[in-house]
């Protein structure tokens, strides 16, 4: 299983904070996970997850979308950060 989390604008656009997703052998990278999420969710999910500047975090570290995935990982999607 993968834990998938969404924050800020993306959480609101999807009306979803967190999902559990079955990890399978074809899901090699964060990119593959996005394709799978859009395959299930449709256009609304494509629009939210493929907008420019989406930040991807794997196990709470920012990564590129070609980063490999393994079972048990936590993946998060969020817009650029605005702290301080």
């Amino acid at each position: 299983m993968l834990t998938v989390r969404f924050f800020s604008l993306i959480r609101e656009a999807l009306d979803c904070e967190e999902l559990q997703v079955e990890h399978n052998a074809a899901m090699l990278t964060v990119d593959d996970l996005k394709v799978s999420l859009v395959g299930t969710g449709g256009d609304q999910w494509r629009e939210a997850l493929y907008q420019p500047n989406v930040v991807h975090a794997l196990n709470q570290r920012v990564v590129n979308t070609d980063h490999p995935l393994k079972d048990g990982d936590e993946v998060a999607f969020f817009p650029p950060m605005t702290g301080g």
């Binding site: 924050f7 800020s8 500047n53 975090a57 817009p79 650029p80 950060m81 605005t82 702290g83 301080g84």
Partner: protein
């Protein structure tokens, strides 16, 4: 050498006392960020700060440790709120101790400039006219953070 991320308001005086009790240094620099009553979107009533629990604390711990190594800090403390923040409340407080003023000023500015774009917080503004607006990241903030990577201040 510590991080505090909390929902409730904090006192700047008590944070300063905690920093000073833990370390000694010849130079102390602090920064306090308060909620402004205006933004590009207009007059603000309140702010809601969302964050990524766990990642937030880790990013801030690593940032403080990095600043300590880079500028030879003797002590540092980073405090950041989340949740609903009212006008004129402190949002963020950074304090650093060093042997010399240059290291103290630079260390504090480096932490603040980096935190703006690297710590997983997102601001939502509640405007006086009733609108609710997610704050967009600013190119200026990204450029300031990148400038530290290019060492333009050193």
């Amino acid at each position: 050498m510590s991080v505090l991320v909390q929902e409730s308001p904090f006192s700047v005086d008590s944070q300063l006392r905690i920093l000073l009790a833990s370390n000694r240094g010849a130079g102390l620099v602090t920064f306090t960020g308060y909620l402004r009553d205006f933004s590009e979107a207009g007059a603000i009533e309140a702010l809601e700060l969302e964050h990524y629990p766990g990642m937030t604390e880790r990013v801030l711990e690593e940032l403080g440790a990095l600043a300590a190594r880079r500028f030879g800090l003797r002590g540092w403390r980073i405090v950041h709120r989340y949740g609903r923040i009212e006008e004129q409340d402190p949002i963020v407080w950074v304090g650093v101790l060093a042997d010399h003023r240059h290291e103290a000023f630079s260390g504090c500015q480096f932490i603040m400039d980096t935190l703006k774009t690297k710590a997983p917080f997102w601001k939502k503004e509640f405007m006086r006219d009733g609108r609710v607006v997610w704050v967009q990241s600013k190119l200026d903030d990204t450029e300031r953070e990148q400038a530290w990577q290019e060492d333009v201040y050193e």
